[in-house]
Symmetry: C2
Subunit: 233 residues, 2 copies
DNA sequence: GAGTGGTCTAGACCACGGA
DNA sequence: CCGTGGTCTAGACCACTCA
C-alpha cells in the first residue's frame, strides 16, 4: 500500500501551505522518481487525492491543487455571479451553444412537454478564477420566452426571465447525484473521461407550479459543496 | 481508448437486463481475456463504470451490478427504515460502536460545544438488501439524553429522542459534498480505499435553533440520489 | 487450497500542450 | 520540437475470500 503513503506525503505538502490553489504539481515522471516508484503507482496516489477533492487534473495538462469548493445553497436564488462574488471568487460564464430545437428525450422527462414541442437548449460553462468547473445544459420551453436567444446569454438566465419577460421563479425541484464527466462535457471542462462529478438536475416552477425551465449541471466534484437549511413550518 | 469501448460493451450487457442488481461480474482475469486485453485496462473500464454508478466493488470480493439508488429527501423527516420500505427496499442498521466520551475536534465544530464537553458518539452502518451502503457517525451532547446508550440503537435515533426524551427536531442544516471512502469507513462498507462517496453532514436543531445532534454520513455514491423541492414562501 | 482482487514493476508508444 | 500525460502491455507476488 505504497500509494497510500505517497498520497499522505503529497497531502502533507499541500497542508503545509507550500503549495497554493491552482498551482501545478511536478510532472508524473518527476514525482514518480522522487518517491522511488513507477508512474502507475504514483498515478494511483494522485487519483486518490483527486477523489478526496485535494487535487484535480486537466486533460494532458497535469495535476493541480484544488481551491476551496464554492458553497452552493439550493434554497437561495442567487445567480452564479452573486454567489461567486459573495465568496470572493471570480466567476465567469462562457456560452458553448444556444439553439432553438425540437425537444429531445431528456428534456421531455424534465419538462413534461409533449413530443415535437419547441425548446431553447443552451449550453454554458461556468468558471472560477478562469478554471472551468461546471457544465450546464438549460432546457427552456420557447412558449413563454420569444426571442430569448437575442438576450445576453452570458448573464444570469433568471434575471433575463424577470427583467425581460416578467417571469418569476417561485420554487425549484432538485436532484443531486454523484457521477462522472463524459464526452463533450468532460472536454469542455478540460477533464479526462471519468473525472468524478456532481450532477444537479433543477426544475424551476412559477407560483402555479408550472415548469419554467429545467437544467442539468455537471460540477467537477472538488469545486462545490452544497449547503442548506430545512425546517418544518 | 480501448477501455472506453470495453466500458460500453459491459454497459450494454447491463442495459440489456441480462445482469441483475447485486449480481457478481466474472473475474477480472476472465473479463480481460474475453475482451482480449490486460487486467490493467479492464480495471480502467470497470473503474469508469464505477464512477458512473453502474457497478460497485467489494474489497477482494469482486465487481457487482449497482441497484437503483435510494431517493433521499433532506426536507422529509422519514427515518432510514421508513425511507427504504417506502421504496420497496429492505433497509437494516448495524451498530458498530456506541460510547460516551469527551468531545473531539470534528464534534466541536459541528456542535459548537466547549472543549471537554461530554458526548455520545455512535457509529452505525446502514444496509440495503444486506449491502452496506452508508456509514454514519452521530455526535450527541449527553446533556439532554441521559442513558441514551441503553436504548435500542438499531432503531431510528429521531424516534428515540421523541418517544423517550420528548425532544423534537425542527430543522436541519445540511452540507453535501463528494469525496471518498477511507480507512475504517471504507472497510465497514466492504469498500476499497478511495471508493467514490457522497458525504452528508447534518446538524439537527430544535424550535429554538439549539443544536440537538449532528452526524456525518458517508454513502457509497451509487447508492443514493438526493432529491428535494425548495420554494419561496 | 485454488482462485481472486489488490498492488506493483518496468517498460512502451502516441497525441497533444506549450515553448 | 520536446516533454507531458493518456493509454497499454505482460508480467509478478501477496493476502484474502470462498468453496
Amino acid at each position: 500500500m505504497q500509494y497510500i503513503k505517497i498520497k499522505e506525503l503529497i497531502a502533507e505538502q499541500i497542508d503545509s501551505g507550500m503549495l497554493t490553489p491552482q498551482q501545478k504539481l511536478p510532472s508524473e515522471r518527476q514525482l514518480a522518481e522522487s518517491f522511488n516508484t513507477t508512474r502507475v503507482t504514483l498515478r494511483e496516489a494522485l487519483s486518490l487525492l483527486e477523489s478526496e477533492g485535494r487535487v484535480y487534473r486537466e486533460d494532458r495538462r497535469g495535476w493541480f491543487i484544488s481551491p476551496l469548493p464554492l458553497r452552493y445553497d439550493p434554497a437561495c436564488s442567487a445567480s452564479f455571479f452573486e454567489l461567486s462574488s459573495s465568496q470572493n471568487r471570480n466567476g465567469s460564464i462562457e456560452v458553448i451553444s444556444a439553439e432553438n430545437k425540437l425537444i429531445n428525450k431528456t428534456a421531455v422527462e424534465l419538462l413534461s412537454l409533449k413530443p415535437f414541442s419547441e425548446i431553447y437548449q443552451i449550453e454554458r460553462v461556468r468558471c472560477l478564477e478562469g478554471r472551468p468547473v461546471s457544465y450546464v445544459t438549460h432546457y427552456i420551453p420557447t412558449k413563454s420566452f420569444s426571442n430569448l436567444l437575442d438576450a445576453d446569454l452570458t448573464s444570469s438566465l433568471k434575471s433575463i426571465y424577470r427583467e425581460q419577460y416578467g417571469v418569476l421563479c417561485h420554487g425549484t425541484h432538485f436532484k443531486l447525484s454523484s457521477g462522472s464527466l463524459l464526452g463533450m462535457v468532460a472536454s469542455a471542462l478540460r477533464a479526462t473521461e471519468g473525472t468524478p462529478a456532481l450532477a444537479i438536475e433543477r426544475r424551476n416552477v412559477d407560483s402555479n407550479g408550472e415548469i419554467i425551465d429545467a437544467s442539468i449541471e455537471f460540477w467537477r466534484h472538488d469545486a462545490i459543496s452544497v449547503e442548506s437549511f430545512f425546517s418544518k413550518n
